[in-house]
């Protein structure tokens, strides 16, 4: 019983490593597998790069940071979704559907225009937190907080935040504002360089790891607040602490990738089918699956329609939206 999650985890960890190794060699520049890893090796202090400077830059400055950012963002969004589903007892909860991603985009865009991009993740976190509070406030003003009401409230908040984001970019943009708006609203990793890797990985360590340690506590939330309190859990502190951590994680990820949908919603459900609902296994495994999924979704987004590039959010939505519809259908038959 106990060894199954460990086995699955080991397999997924190996798959993630393999995915990174392969994905950096895929791209329009026709660089061979050996050349790619020769180049990466040279930057890690192993020999000389087999590539001329320009092509070496494609590998080290563009592809590798982009692949690593995709993996970290996917992991972060999947953890955020799994936690929100547990803590709100809502199988439809996810940072994108509840408006956190749009709120984070708005926060990020606001400070980009002020030129203060060092505080970008922080502003995105504040945007995510405000959006989450608005969503929960709106949902509770409609009566008892149900999953469907929460999603509808999230839709309202997210539409407003997206509209304001677009407005700000239109008002102030100097370059291609359409492309920039698409990047924030649909999510794109096209701009991911090493600073993006740093932001996403630091967020995973600072917010993701503490969240993963609360796995057992999240299990207790399955039976409601009274049950959790009777088992010795400080329910309000745990709930708000975890929601804040989720907003931090989402904010950091959105600040480097824009709002990518459905990763947080779909993948935890898939992992539950694989290893069951215990969060001690669910959280780390969701992170691994999220990393692999977004890495390949982004690889598809940048290479399928070469030389054009899709915002990665289109790929995740094409895969995720039908699964979301399926989840809705299953809920109806359950109630």
């Amino acid at each position: 019983m106990r060894s199954r999650p460990v086995l699955v985890g080991a397999a997924l960890g190996a798959a993630l490593l393999l995915s990174i190794v392969v994905a950096v060699t895929i791209g329009p520049a026709n660089i061979t597998f050996g050349e790619v890893w020769g180049s990466i090796g040279s930057h890690l202090g192993l020999g000389n790069s087999p590539l001329p400077v320009l092509r070496d830059g494609i590998v080290w400055e563009l592809r590798l940071p982009r692949v690593l950012t995709a993996a970290a963002v996917g992991a972060g969004l999947a953890i955020a979704g799994a936690v929100m589903q547990a803590i709100t007892r809502n199988p439809l909860a996810d940072p994108y559907l509840l408006g956190l991603s749009s709120g984070a985009s708005l926060g990020a865009v606001s400070v980009v225009l002020l030129g203060a991009s060092v505080v970008l993740p922080l502003a995105a976190f504040l945007g995510a937190m405000v959006a989450l509070l608005l969503t929960l406030l709106l949902a509770s003003s409609l009566g008892a907080i149900t999953p469907t009401r929460t999603v509808l409230a999230g839709l309202a908040v997210s539409s407003l935040a997206s509209a304001i984001t677009s407005l700000i970019i239109f008002w102030t943009a100097t370059g291609d504002s359409y492309r920039e708006i698409l990047g924030w609203l649909l999510g794109s990793l096209a701009g991911a360089r090493w600073p993006a890797v740093a932001i996403a990985v630091v967020a995973l360590v600072v917010a993701g790891i503490p969240i993963m340690l609360t796995g057992r506590v999240l299990d207790a939330f399955a039976f409601g607040d009274v049950s959790a309190a009777a088992l010795g859990i400080n329910v309000p502190a745990t709930r708000w602490g975890l929601l804040a951590a989720t907003a931090l994680l989402t904010g950091a990820m959105v600040s480097v990738s824009g709002s990518i949908g459905f990763v947080g919603l779909i993948l935890p459900h898939g992992v539950r089918l694989l290893v069951g609902p215990a969060h001690r296994a669910l959280l780390p495994l969701s992170a691994l699956v999220g990393a692999i999924f977004l890495l390949w979704a982004d690889t598809a987004a940048r290479s399928l329609f070469d030389p054009r590039e899709l915002p990665v959010g289109i790929v995740t939505a094409i895969i995720g939206a039908p699964l979301f519809a399926f989840l809705l259908g299953r809920r109806r038959s359950a109630t």
């Binding site: 057992r216 207790a220 409601g224 309190a229 069951g276 609902p277």
Partner: protein, 255 residues
């Protein structure tokens, strides 16, 4: 180790639900909390379990103020079985019972499986320990939630309508089990709407009506025809069960 509550007052919004209640549950006994629908039984029980802080008043067990006791420590002393717990978790029965070990676990150390096995055994749920909780019948779920409470290894056990969803055989089994637990030293308080079961199985009763304790004490002396007439508006007659020799209540409408 008795449970003592004094001057409990609970409001919900502007509405006063519990109005200055004093009550105590003698150590190692099974006591029943009875009263008409809407009397405030569930509300009072949540406060006695130290899950819901009252607007005023104190709850103490074995002399220690429960609301001043650290949460995890408190959850090793008091266990609470709710009425009608809804969940859509896919957890197995064993995992659900394992949640009862949470107050005993550290961040890294796993729970003791011995206490979980014992709780499954005691409640007769071991046979379906590997089934998914959501697939069980109402009565089976009730027993699993009792097993979860027992896995906490509590000294005080509070239950809200533990016989709901149970057929008559299972009701008697459940209440007999509560008697066995109390004989082992556990202090048990159950909210029961079935006065017949309360009269047969509880040694003490607390009668709640409109947010106030109107009577409390040993069952036979407390659940009198006069009191039941005043509280429930029914005619009660005390009979003797020809098989067990115990008290039985028969009810008829007032004329």
């Amino acid at each position: 180790m008795s449970l003592d509550a004094s001057r409990i007052r609970i409001t919900a919004g502007q509405k006063l639900i519990i109005d200055g209640v004093d009550c105590s549950v003698p150590a190692g006994s099974v006591s029943a909390l009875v009263g008409p629908n809407g009397a405030g039984k569930s509300t009072l029980l949540r406060t006695l379990a130290a899950v819901h802080r009252p607007d005023a008043g104190t709850v103490s067990f074995d002399g220690a103020d429960l609301f001043a006791t650290p949460r995890r420590e408190r959850a090793r002393i008091v266990a609470f079985v709710e009425q009608d717990t809804s969940t859509d978790t896919a957890m197995s029965v064993r995992a659900v019972v394992g949640l009862g070990r949470l107050p005993h676990e550290g961040v890294w150390s796993g729970g003791s499986t011995a206490a979980v096995d014992a709780a499954l055994e005691t409640t007769g749920t071991a046979a379906f320990a590997d089934r998914e909780f959501a697939t069980l019948s109402g009565g089976e779920r009730q027993r699993v939630l009792l097993a979860r409470a027992l896995a906490q290894e509590p000294s005080l056990l509070l239950l809200d309508e533990p016989t709901n969803h149970l057929d008559i055989g299972a009701q008697l089994t459940a209440l007999t089990l509560l008697r066995t637990l109390s004989a082992g030293g556990m202090t048990v308080l159950a909210a029961l709407h079935d006065l017949g079961l309360a009269a047969t199985y509880a040694e003490h009763v607390i009668v709640l009506s409109a947010g106030k304790v109107v009577a409390a004490g040993p069952t036979a002396q407390t659940l009198t025809p006069e009191l039941l007439r005043a509280v429930y508006g029914v005619q009660a007659t005390v009979l003797v069960n020809p098989v067990t020799g115990g008290r039985v209540l028969a009810f008829s409408p007032l004329d």
